[in-house]
Symmetry: D2
Subunit: 130 residues, 4 copies
């Protein structure tokens, strides 16, 4: 199974008044990692949108295990598999560096939409490679 990794560093503006990364920011990290993964497969999220196919998130389950804070470096690890014909599952972990401590664990379900209707993953150009 292929594992994709993207490195990040917490930016101070991502922290809220508790001094830790705000819960919503992790969805930004997860999304950016998915898009970089897709690009590595030749799939451009923006180009697909311009061609009338939108990749959208239909469900996220996210467990917050350990808070990241100012200056922290971390990576987001991603693996994928399919569930039926319509759903692409992204298993993602946010891992604090250098000690590789699990900060967040998430399961993100993505679907393709064309003209307002779900389309089969197999009918999205580039997805045959993942």
């Amino acid at each position: 199974m292929e594992v994709f990794e993207q490195e990040f560093e917490v930016r101070d503006y991502e922290c809220d008044l508790q001094g830790i990364v705000n819960n919503a920011r992790y969805l930004n990290y997860l999304e950016h990692t998915r898009h970089k993964f897709l690009l590595s497969k030749g799939i451009d999220f923006v180009q697909l949108h311009n061609e009338g196919i939108d990749l959208v998130v239909s469900r996220i389950e996210i467990d917050y295990k350990h808070s990241l804070t100012s200056g922290d470096k971390f990576l987001v690890r991603l693996t994928t598999h399919r569930e039926g014909h319509l759903r692409m599952i992204f298993e993602q972990e946010v891992i604090k560096l250098p000690e590789e401590k699990l900060a967040v664990k998430a399961k993100v379900i993505g679907v393709g939409v064309k003209n307002g209707r779900p389309i089969k993953i197999d009918n999205i150009p580039g997805f045959e490679k993942i």
Copy 2:
């Protein structure tokens, strides 16, 4: 069962290049609603933080049912219940107005943390009222 509601309006900067509200923004809406609900019970998230008690999110399950876009008005509906001594559950729905269409459904688990350790909900000032 008490139902708390907070009204919102999509702001254009919350939409991403697909022209719809970005998936992470909904966590902002959900959080703001929780904080307003807590304030309505006399619980100030910021004051608690300053007193050394942090309310943090430990898990979110969120289903994206219908995308919001520029100009949309909506409300976030919230109910709460407890799960054991440590977990406060927030059931939240994002509902597009005026047709009351369900846009997002979420279950958010919040816990209290003091000195890096979980504390009982009953030991957080103000929580006896919810």
Copy 3:
């Protein structure tokens, strides 16, 4: 001279680790107020984009006078005038309520762009009314 006003309330996620609203968030408040003002004139920022005309910011001067923080209510006041044929000036103030204390003062220069080139304000539908 017409004065447009939009009311807001600070949301906790807009505050950074200093416990005050992050400097970038004020640009969100200013933008949302401009778009609401334009809508009040029948000008829809999104529709214009879909018709190939983009309203973009070419310059902002912003003075931060007083920090907003959790729970603060405020309004953004806006007046407009033109500068030459190409530039629409938005004079904007962020004013803390209820004491009407000036928090931020800004001058925002907006221009219209079509096919990558500036267009005259007069040639943007709806702008004859402002």
Copy 4:
């Protein structure tokens, strides 16, 4: 004169419905670069805050020259100088790579605040080095 540089890459969630980086996001990029610069001088924005000294922005002048979009790589260039005893000036440029096209030019005025009052730059630990 010392020039500090920080590299970035546009993340899709930073783009708004016009398909370009939203105007407020550049303030995030500029801030992150200032904080990284300060760290390179041994000055930790967060630690200063915890010691009761807040570095805050008092004024920004920003010119938007060229829009960044999905996938763009860029760097933020920074130089500093003082203006009187109280004001630290950050001259910053956002430069699209690889062609080194100027995207944004900004002048940011920062001041130190302690107990709600401005303090001399010289009295902020670490600032003697810049």
